[in-house]
């Protein structure tokens, strides 16, 4: 890491005579044993992308099977059990292996230290350990598939998860290890934000993506251990019959649900808060306008994090907990809508009269605004105790969480990739192909899940391998939508891969951002900045934007 080369004047666009972080060392071990957060972010990106494709394949299998009311793919005496395994795999892969790590560990790792003006995260070796824990957890999950699979649903509720096939312990231990990966990432980011900010970078000059990741990290550290103890107890119960969740032995399956959802509700905010952070960044940059209500958005991230710990019982309205607990949970659930709505309105107010660039990242961000509005509002509907009694375990719930998890979070992830791709790799993808992919995904997504809202409200239960003919039209419509999503994702992936081999050079500051991540050379050097930055202006002050950097090619 010793360099004696002169500092680069980014604005003059001199050809770099020092290597960027991709070039500085080569070979397998320079990646496998790297301590560079950017390389770790890329390794995570490859990993979670593969998890996404795997989870998406399982999703297509589900939708193809549901083409026919009697089940099109998994027939025969074990067909229903196989179907159960497939939707369990879809959920487990998407939730634990893809979404929870995706934005924080890939985009967060790549971008957070850049945004703070730091050389790396606070604990680089822990960062690498996080990544290897992710690998180990995923390996255990794959082993669990080979060892016979698991058909409990990704929520592995007791008492079924206590009695059913073998591999529950394997996947449980995989989830335990993945949980620690998540905890270590969150821990690292909290310390980084507290201790490694550049001089002049006060809390209220931090980009909102950093606030979002910070709030997420709090949740990762405080909530995930409870998931850890839950899977440990399930494993102990399966192995030694301890009886804590087993009603035959005096245990209480509702206690399992309390433990599980104590983590899993904050978990959904672990998933969505980073997405909010990405949207905040994209909206401001691509409208070239400071974010409306910066402090509101910053504090709303923290408010969402705190309130998320108070509402988990809204997943358990039909489980048998006391009515009074249900009143409390339903009442508290409505409060989480307030900070969330503050964000949505602030984003819209930012776009209003901004100088909008309708490029691929912005299209994804605008799609997010529409889709998340639907997803969030249907969440409020489900939070109403009386209505949820009818909608619980129907496709209405499935549609709601896919609107927030896929339509919002995954779309924000794609948006972030399109936005920071030129920064990380110094190349641009084909704008046309990216827009086509975005259009396909948006159309396909709505085609898949709007029918699910309708049939859910008409009673179609979730996790059923077969159904009555009344719902056939909706299922077929939904399956076609899923295929369109598949096509869109294929175009997007092809677009990115092509850019790595034959993409045009990106610009130093492709979009005209003014946060520190856009002030560093593109792609960044190993220690991120040629001279350590000192921050002297407010965070989204576009008067400081040097337009020459949008014309200067990347090094």
């Amino acid at each position: 890491m010793t360099t004696n080369l002169p500092a680069i004047d980014v604005h003059a666009g001199l050809a770099a005579r020092r290597p960027n972080y991709l070039q500085v060392t080569k070979g397998f071990w320079s990646w496998a044993a790297t301590l560079d957060h950017k390389r770790i972010g890329i390794m995570y990106l490859i990993g979670v992308s593969m998890a996404f494709l795997a989870g998406g394949t399982f999703a297509l299998l589900i939708r193809l099977h549901l083409w026919d009311p009697h089940g099109a793919l998994f027939t025969g005496p074990n067909g229903n059990v196989t179907y159960n395994q497939i939707f369990t795999l879809h959920g487990a892969f998407m939730v634990f292996i893809f979404i929870i790590p995706a934005i924080p560990a890939s985009i967060g790792n790549m971008v957070l230290p850049l945004m703070l003006g730091a050389k790396d995260v606070a604990l680089p070796r822990l960062n690498l350990v996080s990544f290897y824990f992710w690998c180990a957890g995923t390996a255990l999950a794959l082993y669990a598939i080979l060892a016979g699979g698991f058909d409990t649903g990704w929520t592995f509720y007791a008492p079924y998860s206590l009695y059913t096939e073998q591999a529950v312990v394997s996947i449980g231990m995989g989830v335990f290890i993945l949980g620690f990966s998540s905890i270590f990432t969150g821990l690292n980011f909290i310390v980084t934000v507290h201790k490694l900010r550049a001089p002049g970078l006060t809390w209220f000059r931090m980009p909102l993506f950093v606030w979002a990741i910070y709030a997420t990290a709090i949740l990762q550290v405080l909530a995930t251990p409870v998931l850890g103890i839950t899977v440990l107890l399930v494993a102990l119960e399966r192995t030694y019959g301890v009886g804590i969740f087993d009603p035959r032995l005096g245990g209480d399956p509702v206690l399992f649900e309390h433990f599980f959802w104590f983590y899993s509700h904050p978990a959904v905010y672990i998933m969505v808060l980073p997405a909010f952070g990405i949207i905040s960044e994209l909206i401001t940059v691509h409208s070239r306008k400071p974010l409306f209500g910066y402090k509101l958005i910053a504090f709303s991230s923290l408010a969402i994090a705190i309130i998320s710990f108070l509402v988990w019982g809204h997943h358990m309205f039909t489980s048998g907990q006391s009515t009074y607990a249900m009143f409390a949970f339903s009442f508290l659930t409505f409060f989480v809508a307030i900070p969330t709505a503050i964000k949505e309105f602030s984003w819209v107010a930012t776009v209003w009269k901004g100088s909008i660039a309708l490029n691929a990242p912005m299209l994804y961000a605008l799609a997010f605004l529409i889709i998340f509005a639907i997803g969030g509002l249907t969440g409020v509907i489900l939070g109403s105790l009386n209505v949820d009694i009818h909608l619980h375990d129907t496709y209405f719930v499935v549609a709601h969480f896919h609107y927030v998890m896929m339509g919002s979070i995954a779309l924000a992830f794609f948006a972030g990739l399109h936005h920071w791709w030129p920064k990380m790799f110094g190349v641009m993808y084909s704008e046309t192909a990216a827009k086509v992919a975005c259009g396909l995904i948006f159309v396909g997504f709505n085609a898949t899940f709007i029918p699910q809202f309708i049939m859910g409200s008409r009673g179609m239960p979730r996790r059923y391998a077969t159904y009555v003919p009344e719902y056939e039209f909706f299922h077929k419509f939904s399956t076609i939508g899923a295929l369109i999503i598949g096509a869109g994702v294929a175009v997007m992936v092809g677009c990115f891969v092509h850019s790595l081999f034959a993409g045009k050079k990106a610009m130093q500051n492709q979009w005209g951002g003014v946060t520190l991540d856009w002030q560093t050379p593109t792609p960044p050097p190993l220690e991120n900045f040629d001279t350590p930055p000192v921050v002297t202006h407010e965070v989204y002050d576009y008067t400081t934007l040097d337009l020459r950097t949008l014309q200067t090619p990347a090094s």
Binding site: K119, N188, I190, K195, P225, G241, L249
Partner: protein, 236 residues
């Protein structure tokens, strides 16, 4: 700007080694505070991990108070009290060990750390003995994977016959003291490492961070036991 060498913290005298601050930190204070904050966050996760078990304890205590009353009477409160005392003493010796590192007293630090290990070892010995006694009475712990309740909870002296689901109390007892014991063993390993590296002169008034962090870990182990003791041994 330090691209190639981190800030070097000098040794305070003979027999000690200097410490090089990691390259992405600007000052040793920044490194110290970052590491300490990170470790406190890790301790927070441990509190929540064990906390889940405590929640299960309180839940079942509320549901089956008689079971806990009778179950607690089966445990030897004297041994539990001795264990509590031993762990508190070891916490004291650990704190003294950290203090010795802070004042560059190498031999004293190692001495106090050995005392701490002794305390931890006595604790584990008593714990193993207790588990063994329970085992001979047919009250567990389950030792082979795949056992059903009736196989490990035989209750040969029928002490839990009159209360519902007696195995629940003991299941919680073994899970909680077992997980705690695992943490004690890990702690002993960490302290051994501190003694070894301390012997090389790595820890002194200008750099004692690892000793401080291992000390925090050991105090956490003591903290958990402070709550476990009354809940299991004094509940009758």
């Amino acid at each position: 700007m330090s691209h190639d060498h981190g800030f070097v913290v000098p040794a305070p005298g003979d027999g000690f080694l200097p410490h090089t601050v990691a390259h992405h930190f600007d000052t040793p204070t920044q490194e110290f505070q970052a590491a300490k904050l990170g470790f406190w966050l890790f301790l927070a996760t441990e509190i929540l991990l064990f906390g889940g078990l405590f929640a299960a304890y309180f839940f079942f205590h509320q549901e089956y108070p008689q079971t806990f009353h009778v179950g607690g009477a089966q445990l030897n409160w004297v041994l539990g009290g001795v264990n509590t005392t031993v762990l508190l003493l070891s916490s004291f010796t650990m704190a003294m060990g950290v203090r010795s590192a802070q004042t560059s007293q190498k031999r004293k630090m190692q001495f106090y750390c050995w005392l701490t290990i002794l305390g931890g070892a006595i604790f584990m010995a008593i714990k193993c003995y207790e588990w063994h006694v329970k085992y001979t009475h047919g009250l567990g712990p389950p030792v082979i994977a795949g056992m059903h309740v009736e196989q490990w909870f035989k209750d040969t002296h029928n002490v839990m016959a009159d209360v519902p689901h007696g195995h629940l109390f003991f299941a919680l007892y073994y899970t909680m003291t077992g997980l705690h014991g695992l943490h004690v063993v890990v702690g002993l390993g960490l302290i051994l490492w501190i003694i070894r590296d301390g012997g090389k002169g790595r820890f002194h008034a200008n750099y004692f961070l690892p000793v401080d962090l291992v000390g925090l870990y050991w105090h956490l182990v003591d903290l958990i036991w402070i709550f476990l003791f009354p809940l299991f041994y004094l509940v009758s």
